[in-house]
């Protein structure tokens, strides 16, 4: 096991820069999630750590040792590729065993690890099948099993749960975290699913356009997103972002007024759906646009007179019909303010 440090990592493909000036410190035994939209450079970053891509600039250090120009096989990495890559002519069992070809584990220990992985990922009845005979989700589970039987310096998992059904995904989320904590193995887990990121990571690194937007614990990322991008990307349903202006200690946007102590100027107000409330009167006048009933609660989507949409969380029993008028108002103590240039400028003290 080892800590991984990326030092000003840059990776270009021709004129296109996929990863730019990335500084990242994964401590020994940490579960770090790389979160970001499609094409933001997550896989490229992972491939650089594994040694499959050569960085255009910057360094990669394992436990302080520079491995930037080391070939993949000397880095002792276990990896799940994004496409659930397996050797096409080998059965699932042979694929999993191929991972242990170079290990010096005793035969009983190998057997035990393989059996554990097989039962954890519920792939017992797939072992004799070829990849071409499996579904995408089954391939992903076999690829994950193939990775976790190893005893590597670090696990690099590229969206290993993306093709699974909701129930299995939920089970495996917990299983993978549990296994990682038991083994204490440094893990970099890539996903574009923010729920996965929030539930699994010790820390989350949010990437956008090849750059690191913010790194922090899930609650830091959730409570104090450093930029508008992070604010909008993390959280489900997403945060409401309202453009407006601060003057005389009051945020104003259209008919909305929120008392907030901040420097005057154009800003964006961010408020999570659970901090936006329905008022009898005196709030922002809106009409119901849609109701999404989730069972435990209901997401209410409303539209103000300027046709801006806002989301708020209300109780499951909320009664209302599309078109009904109502007033909404944010909880001023839970509002964030963002500046276009410098990001977060005001957050509730906690």
């Amino acid at each position: 096991m080892a800590g991984i440090r990326l030092d000003h990592l840059k990776k270009s493909f021709g004129a296109f820069t996929a990863v730019q000036d990335l500084d990242l410190d994964v401590t020994d035994g940490e579960f770090l999630v790389l979160l970001g939209p499609s094409g933001c450079g997550k896989t490229t970053t992972l491939n650089c750590i594994a040694g499959l891509e050569t960085p255009s600039a910057g360094r990669i250090l394992f436990d302080g040792r520079d491995v930037t120009s080391d070939p993949p096989h000397s880095r002792n990495i276990a990896m799940v590729f994004q496409s659930a890559l397996l050797y096409p002519h080998m059965t699932a069992a042979a694929n999993i065993e191929a991972s242990l070809r170079r290990s010096d584990l005793a035969p009983e220990e190998r057997r035990r690890r393989i059996d554990d992985a097989v039962s954890m990922l519920e792939i017992g009845d797939l072992l004799d099948k070829l990849p071409s005979e499996m579904s995408g989700g089954q391939r992903q589970r076999v690829a994950t099993a193939k990775a976790i039987v190893r005893q590597p310096t670090a696990f690099l998992l590229d969206e290993p749960l993306s093709a699974l059904d909701a129930a299995l995904r939920m089970t495996l989320r917990a299983e993978i975290v549990n296994l990682q904590k038991r083994l204490g193995s440094t893990t970099v887990f890539v996903t574009h699913d923010q729920v996965e990121a929030m539930t699994m990571g010790d820390r989350i690194a949010v990437m956008n356009g090849g750059r690191l937007e913010q790194i922090g614990t899930p609650s830091e990322i959730y409570e104090r997103p450093r930029s508008l991008f992070v604010a909008g990307f993390v959280g489900s349903p997403p945060m409401n972002l309202i453009r407006g202006e601060v003057a005389d200690g009051v945020f104003a946007a259209g008919e909305l007024r929120v008392p907030l102590a901040a420097a005057p100027g154009p800003v964006t107000l961010g408020v999570r759906p659970q901090h936006l409330h329905v008022r009898a009167e005196g709030g922002l006048p809106c009409a119901i646009f849609a109701l999404e009933r989730l069972g435990r609660e209901t997401v209410l989507i409303v539209e103000d007179r300027a046709r801006n949409r806002l989301r708020l969380l209300v109780e499951a029993e909320f009664e209302g019909r599309v078109g009904d008028p109502l007033d909404v108002a944010p909880d001023p103590a839970r509002c964030l303010l963002f500046d276009d240039a410098s990001g977060l400028i005001h957050a509730p003290a906690n």
């Binding site: 993949p72 050797y87 096409p88 070809r101």
Partner: protein, 302 residues
């Protein structure tokens, strides 16, 4: 309901089998004409003694021609020469083809030009190949002689001798065949996702293991097909050997086709020649069937 409709409609229609037969009729006729008739005629000849001198006549001799073979040393020798030539040709053609394919699959500056150059040997007729290799391998004009003289030797080096002539033939044959093998293998190589090599690197496979587990599997079916094709072509090869060595020196390169030619058209023993042709035919069919049973079935199952 639907069943009734079709069954009543069928009275005026052809069944699938009838239709298929009707459609295949021209091809069947053609095959009978160009394959079955000569084959049948040759089979008939193999049971005859055919005499040209003193008036052409044929005597039915039953299996006598086949029986003669059993005690004919030249016949057994020709089988051995054929097998040796075929095995060497196949191994060389596959090895050279594979090497060329791997070479062509590397990034290079003028891929189109290099591919064209490598393809050229296949465009040379076997007759031409025979003449060229005969010049290259014999003492007076040979390649080896040139090299030997360069290093100060004063005697020509010839490979067209009892010991090496089969290898010279096999190399020439493989030289002609390998480019085609290479191109089909190259097409297979292009289908391998490069990420698979990354996976092998992550699994810390050695270059040999990577070749065995990543590169070779998608090539195996093509290798099987070309092993069969090269086997058949090598066993029935005649013109190339006729031009290069004429079955010699002595009988050193008297393959079955050459032996059959000599018996049929020099000794004019058509019946015996026909009988040997049938043995060759069975050898060819037998070896491809064996190849399929031992190897092809497994590949086709993938």
């Amino acid at each position: 309901m639907a069943g009734q409709v079709t069954s009543t409609g069928r009275t005026s229609e052809l069944s699938n089998l009838q239709f298929a037969l009707l459609m295949a009729l021209p091809v069947l006729l053609f095959l009978v004409l160009v394959v079955a008739y000569p084959l049948g005629y040759a089979l008939w000849m193999s049971f005859q003694q055919i005499v040209f001198f003193g008036g052409y006549r044929t005597n039915f001799v039953g299996l006598a021609n086949y029986a003669t073979m059993l005690g004919d040393d030249k016949f057994w020798w020709s089988i051995w020469v054929t097998v040796r030539f075929t095995v060497e040709s196949v191994l060389l053609a596959m090895a050279i083809g594979l090497a060329l394919a791997l070479l062509l699959n590397r990034p290079m500056r003028r891929p189109g030009l290099i591919r064209t150059i490598i393809m050229l040997p296949w465009c040379v007729s076997l007759y031409g190949t025979g003449i060229m290799f005969s010049y290259l391998a014999t003492g007076q004009t040979g390649f080896a002689t040139a090299i030997a003289f360069f290093f100060g030797a004063d005697r020509p080096v010839s490979f067209v001798n009892r010991q090496w002539v089969i290898e010279v033939l096999a190399i020439g044959n493989a030289w002609n065949m390998a480019p085609l093998v290479a191109f089909f293998l190259l097409a297979n190589l292009k289908t391998i996702p490069t990420r698979l090599y990354d996976l092998a690197a992550i699994d810390r496979m050695s270059p040999l293991e990577t070749f065995w587990n990543v590169t070779l599997p998608p090539l195996r079916f093509t290798l099987f097909v070309f092993t069969c094709i090269t086997t058949v072509l090598s066993m029935k090869l005649f013109d190339f050997i006729f031009v290069l060595s004429g079955g010699g020196p002595g009988t050193a390169s008297a393959v079955m086709t050459y032996q059959i030619y000599k018996i049929s058209f020099r000794d004019l023993n058509l019946g015996y020649g026909a009988a040997q042709s049938f043995v060759l035919l069975f050898l060819i069919v037998g070896s491809t069937m064996t190849l399929y049973a031992l190897w092809g079935r497994r590949e086709a199952a993938r």
